[in-house]
């Protein structure tokens, strides 16, 4: 006797995401849609607010400064974060736990506390200023782009270290032994085997840090100078002081588009989004590039 045709009962599991979806719809999609309409519809349908971004003489400068700052922060984060994450994969569980805590402390500290600490460290008469004065250099990093860059690098470092650690701990170190056994110098083995396998984690960290840097508000506002503001400060100024909602919306949309473009570009380097969580340990993520 033939089995009765199976009726596909929809899995109730998808109900689990309903609350999150509802919340996202209210707090993300609605305001985003509102921003979009603001940016093209005040008072009538127009692209003027977008063209103004490129012609007002301020926005482009701030955008360029923001991009440069974000780039430097990202580079600093990867240069500091890669060796740190590598070390985390090489030490015993106790030391690894300690290193993890050190990474996470910035997360557990109030944003205000961290930024005011940086002000104290970087201001005139602070430790950094006093140190350089010993060499006759009156360096004040407070209210400078350099100071902002330093503080942002510290605050954003966990976003580099965590995905990197996740990726690096998924790499089987016996592959390095195998490579050496097959005739590779240890350094060659690192570049040909370890580095390519860690690339997913690197890209994930780069994207996280860079996109977060683009929208960083508190640190530039507190540690930086108003004369050298970044894009988030510009947004704040337009919404809270100038009440230029259409202009602010257009700027916000532009930053969002740039961020999304970056993420999708980075995704081509192999499972970036998933790499944030599950690392390059899944070998099914084989790159489609480099095929002979």
């Amino acid at each position: 006797m033939a089995d009765p045709p199976q009726r596909r009962i929809p899995s109730p599991q998808w109900l689990l995401v309903l609350p999150a979806l509802a919340l996202l719809a209210v707090i993300l999609l609605v305001p985003l849609g509102r921003s979009l309409t603001y940016s093209v519809d005040a008072p009538a349908w127009t692209l003027d607010h977008y063209t103004a971004l490129f012609t007002d003489g301020v926005t482009l400068t701030v955008l360029a400064r923001t991009a440069l700052t974000a780039t430097i922060v990202t580079i600093v984060a990867v240069l500091l974060g890669y060796p740190y994450a590598y070390l985390m994969t090489r030490v015993g569980p106790r030391l690894r736990g300690l290193l993890m805590v050190i990474v996470l402390v910035p997360f557990w500290t109030s944003v205000m506390a961290r930024n005011f600490a940086w002000i104290i460290i970087l201001q005139r008469g602070g430790p950094v200023n006093s140190f350089f004065k010993l060499f006759g250099w009156d360096l004040v990093l407070y209210e400078s782009v350099a100071g902002v860059t330093i503080a942002m690098s510290q605050v954003l470092l966990p976003f580099m270290v965590l995905p990197l650690f996740s990726a690096l701990s998924g790499i089987d170190r016996r592959l390095l032994l195998a490579a050496r056994g097959l005739g590779s110098h240890p350094i060659t083995a690192f570049w040909k085997i370890y580095w390519p396998l860690s690339r997913g984690g690197v890209v994930a960290g780069l994207i996280l840090v860079f996109t977060l840097s683009l929208g960083f508000y508190v640190t530039p506002a507190l540690v930086g100078s108003p004369q050298q503001s970044l894009v988030a400060q510009l947004l704040g100024q337009r919404t809270t002081q100038l009440l230029d909602f259409p202009g602010a919306s257009a700027l916000g949309i532009l930053v969002l588009v740039v961020s999304l473009a970056l993420v999708s570009w980075a995704n081509r380097f192999g499972g970036t989004i998933s790499a944030i969580g599950v690392a390059a340990s899944t070998p099914t993520n084989a790159p489609t590039k480099d095929r002979p």
Partner: protein, 352 residues
């Protein structure tokens, strides 16, 4: 192409109570299939890693032919290596994996293409060049690893429990494959395993490790038929072990009965245990002339398919022993009292 590997007084000490490898000397002949066999922690894998250069020697020397390689880093030793987890590079295709050692040796491109094709043919993986390791089965992955390990004509191939992760059937197939490839390439093979059957099937000679030392080296047959120590007798196959009342001094005495001894079966003058293989044990109702024998009670009969194992309580003390019966011997049943006997030439007096 094939190399003699000579270990002289090799020691590896991690500063623990016992050295991992303790003063081991062993010569592996060119083209030989040598198995390092032993339980886990016996030093066999450490010895292999010392040969590969992944570990540094505490004392002693390792030479390939006449060249001392004791301090040479692994990438200059020109050895192929096979790991239990295959250790294939997941971001490279089969062809790229196999080409890797050739590229590291700056072999011209056309030669690489040709050699890769040849060796993939040898391991019967032609047509899989473009696959990634994750797209292959465990057995196929190990074939790729094998191809990668031999493609550059290494001085020797080191195999670190390469079949351990495979299921039983596949293990048999790959054993045959490894045997065939050893025959075809003629390179020295050094094979590490804890599986005595695998060792017996594949090896020209076996070095049996125990507590960081080599217990005995010889052909599988020599180790099985002529063990020198109780450890060897027990590790390879089953044995009935009679601990002698006192060390052998021309007479072998167990539970006050004196047994006949063939001088050729005495492993050492101070041997203290007598071992008999289960398949040499005969069970009968009365003692058989020309054999040693002991009274026994049948405790159980275990059906094993091709044969039956009879579990015995031997002698006064009821020492547990085993005899192997053919499928036609169905008369024996649990509870029976029998005489267990064995040919004098088939027993072995060993050090315990």
């Amino acid at each position: 192409m094939s190399t003699r590997i000579r270990l002289t007084d090799v020691t590896k000490d991690y500063g623990l109570a016992v050295p991992a490898v303790d003063n081991v000397s062993l010569t592996i002949e060119p083209g030989e299939f040598m198995t390092l066999l032993g339980p886990s922690g016996s030093g066999k894998t450490t010895t292999l890693n010392l040969i590969a250069g992944f570990e540094t020697l505490t004392a002693g020397t390792i030479a390939f032919d006449d060249a001392d390689v004791s301090t040479l880093p692994p990438h200059k030793r020109n050895l192929g290596m096979l790991f239990q987890n295959y250790a294939l590079f997941p971001h490279m295709t089969v062809a790229q994996n196999v080409a890797y050692p050739l590229r590291e040796r700056k072999v011209p491109k056309p030669d690489i293409t040709r050699r890769v094709a040849e060796v993939l043919d040898l391991v019967q993986l032609t047509g899989r060049d473009g696959h990634y390791p994750s797209q292959l089965s465990g057995g196929q992955q190990q074939r790729v690893a094998l191809a990668r390990a031999i493609v550059f004509g290494p001085a020797a191939l080191l195999l670190d429990e390469p079949l351990g992760a495979l299921d039983r059937n596949l293990r048999g197939v790959l054993q045959a494959e490894i045997h065939r490839i050893h025959q075809e390439v003629g390179t020295t093979f050094v094979f590490v395993t804890h599986d005595q059957e695998e060792a017996m099937n594949l090896s020209d000679r076996i070095a049996l490790f125990n507590n960081g030392k080599i217990e005995q080296v010889g052909t599988p047959e020599a180790l099985y038929q002529r063990p020198e120590t109780l450890f060897t007798a027990r590790f390879l196959g089953d044995s009935n072990v009679f601990p002698l009342d006192k060390p052998f001094d021309g007479k072998a005495v167990w539970e006050d009965s004196v047994w006949a001894v063939d001088p050729g079966t005495v492993a050492a003058p101070t041997a203290s245990a007598l071992v008999v293989r289960p398949e040499d044990m005969r069970l009968s109702t009365s003692s058989v002339p020309g054999t040693n024998s002991v009274g026994a009670t049948v405790r159980a009969v275990e059906y094993m398919g091709a044969y039956r194992t009879v579990v015995l309580a031997l002698g006064r003390s009821g020492l547990t022993g085993r005899a192997r019966l053919g499928p036609e011997d169905t008369a024996i049943a649990a509870g029976q009292t029998v005489v267990a006997s064995w040919p004098v030439a088939r027993q072995r007096l060993v050090l315990s």
